[in-house]
C-alpha cells in the first residue's frame, strides 16, 4: 500500500491547467507562440520572448537530453529526505528546458544522455512530468 504522498504538489492555475490536465492523461503538451514561433515552458499568459498573447497548446515529442543534473543525497527539506533523488534540467528536442527528475539509478545518469518523458501519477489527482533514459 502506498504511503500518503508528502512532497509538494503543483497547484494548477488558469494558465497552467492545460499542461497538468494533459500530464494526467499521460500527454506532454507545451504552449507555442504564434508571434515568434517559440515553444514556452513553464506556461505563461504571454510569450516571454515577444509578449504575444497568441499562444496555443501543441503536443511535443517528450524526447530530450539531460542538460545537467545532481543527485540530492541530503535534501534541505524533510519531505524529500526519504531517499536520494536525481534532480535534473532536461532540454527537450523542441528547445525548452524543464526542471524534472530522472527515474534511473543515480550512477547511470550523464549529461547529454537521451531521455524520454515518463508520467508519474503521484496522487490520484496529480501527475508529475519526469524522464527516464531512452532505451
Amino acid at each position: 500500500m502506498m504511503d500518503t504522498y508528502v512532497k509538494p504538489l503543483p497547484k494548477p492555475t488558469e494558465t497552467s491547467r492545460p499542461f497538468w490536465d494533459a500530464a494526467k492523461q499521460h500527454r506532454l503538451q507545451l504552449q507555442h507562440c504564434g508571434g515568434c514561433q517559440s515553444f514556452i515552458y513553464y506556461p505563461r499568459d504571454r510569450c516571454p520572448h515577444c509578449l504575444s498573447d497568441q499562444l496555443e497548446w501543441r503536443p511535443v515529442s517528450g524526447k530530450g537530453k539531460v542538460y545537467s543534473y545532481t543527485t540530492v543525497r541530503r535534501a534541505s527539506v524533510r519531505s524529500f529526505a526519504d531517499k536520494p533523488y536525481v534532480l535534473a534540467i532536461v532540454e527537450l528536442n523542441e528547445g525548452v528546458r524543464m526542471t524534472t527528475n530522472i527515474e534511473a539509478p543515480p550512477e547511470t545518469v550523464r549529461i547529454g544522455m537521451p531521455v524520454t518523458v515518463l508520467f508519474d501519477d503521484v496522487t490520484p489527482e496529480r501527475t508529475l512530468v519526469k524522464f527516464r533514459p531512452t532505451s
Binding site: T13, T70, R73, I111
Partner: protein, 385 residues
Amino acid sequence: MSLKGKAAAIGIAELKPWKEPPAGVTPLKLMFQLTADALRDAGLEKRDLDGLLVGVPFADPGMIYPASLAEVLGINPRMLNVVDIGGASAAGMIWRAAAAIDAGLCNAVLCIVADLNKMGDQKVPVVSVQREFEAPYGNIGANCGYAMIANRHMYEYGTTPQQMAKVAVDQRKSAVKNPLAAFGDKLITIDDVLNSRVIVDPLHLFEIVSPCSGGSAVIVASPEIAKRAKQPPIWLLGAGEYANHASITYAPSITESPIKPAADTAFKMAGVERKDIDLVCPYDCYTITVLVTLEDAGFCKKGQGGPFAMEHDLSYAGDFPCNTHGGQLSFGQPGLGGGMSHVTEAIRQLMGRGEGRQVKDATLAFVNGNGGIMSEQVSLVLERR
C-alpha cells in the same frame, strides 16, 4: 550617468556570526547595535543619517519594514527602501546609496542587514511559479541549483573536485586570521574538503555555506561628509547590476552567469583594469560560485577558473587575495549579512584594518554580490585614494 567617486563608505559594523543565536536576540536588536557601532566607526551622529536601505530578515518578515526600522532606530530618512535581490542585496545597497547621494536626495545612507538562522524546514518564501514547477521535483533551496551548475561546469570545461575544493582551503587560510569568522578555528586541506560528506553531487559539506545568525552595516556618505569622517573614505568607483533568470533551469546558460555584464559595467565606470585590482571579494555560497565569478568577472578565461584557483594562492598572503575574511564558507552566512561580509571585508582591507590578514598596499578592490541561483548580480569596484 556615472557614480564614479560620487560617494564613499565611511563606517562599518559587523557581528561575529553565531551558529546558534543567543536567547532573546531579535533582528531589530541586532540592527540597533549595528547602527550604533557603524555610527561610532564613522564618527557620525544618528541625526546625520538621512537614508535607509535594509534587507527584510527571514526571521522577522513583514511589509513596510524600512519605516518600522526607522521608527525603532529613531531616524527620519529622506529615502527608505527594501533591497530584495537575494545575496546581491548588500552590494546592491551600496550603489543605490551612492545614486541617492549623487542625486542630492541624501547625505548619509545606512545600509543594514541582520538575521537569525531560524529558516527551518520549507520556510524559504518562494513565488508561485517556483512552488508549481520547481518544488514538486525537489528543486528547493539553493544547493541543488549550484550542484547542477558544478556538474555542467565539470562537463563543459573539465573542472575537477580538487579545483573547487582549493577555494575553500585557501579562504580558510585567511579565516584563521579573522577573529570574526565563525568557522576559522583550524586550517583545512583539499582532502578534508573531499572527505567531507557529499550533500548534493558533486558538492561536499565543506563547499557549502553554513546558515548562521548575525548582521552587518555600512554607512555610505557624500564627499562633504566623507571629508570629516573618522576613517579613510573608501570610494565607489564603479557599479554594475544584471539578472537574466530566477530559476537556473531557465537561464540562457547555467555555466555563464549574468556576472559578465554586471562586472563589465562596473569596470567601465571605474576606468580601471582587472590587473589593477588588489583583492577580490566574490560571493561564495559554494566553491563553484567563486570559480564562475572569477571567469565571468574577467579575472581568468571562461572555463579556466579551476586551473586558476590551483595556480594562485587565494589567501590574504597570496598572489591573488580572494575573500580575505574567509569568505562566507568560513565566515558563515548570517542571512543577507553573508553578502554584506564581502563588502565589509573589501572596505576593511582598503581602510588598512585587515589586522593579521592585511593585504599589503591594497588600494583597489572588486566585490561581487550574487542572488539566488546565479541570478541577480551586483559588481562593485572600490578605491582608497
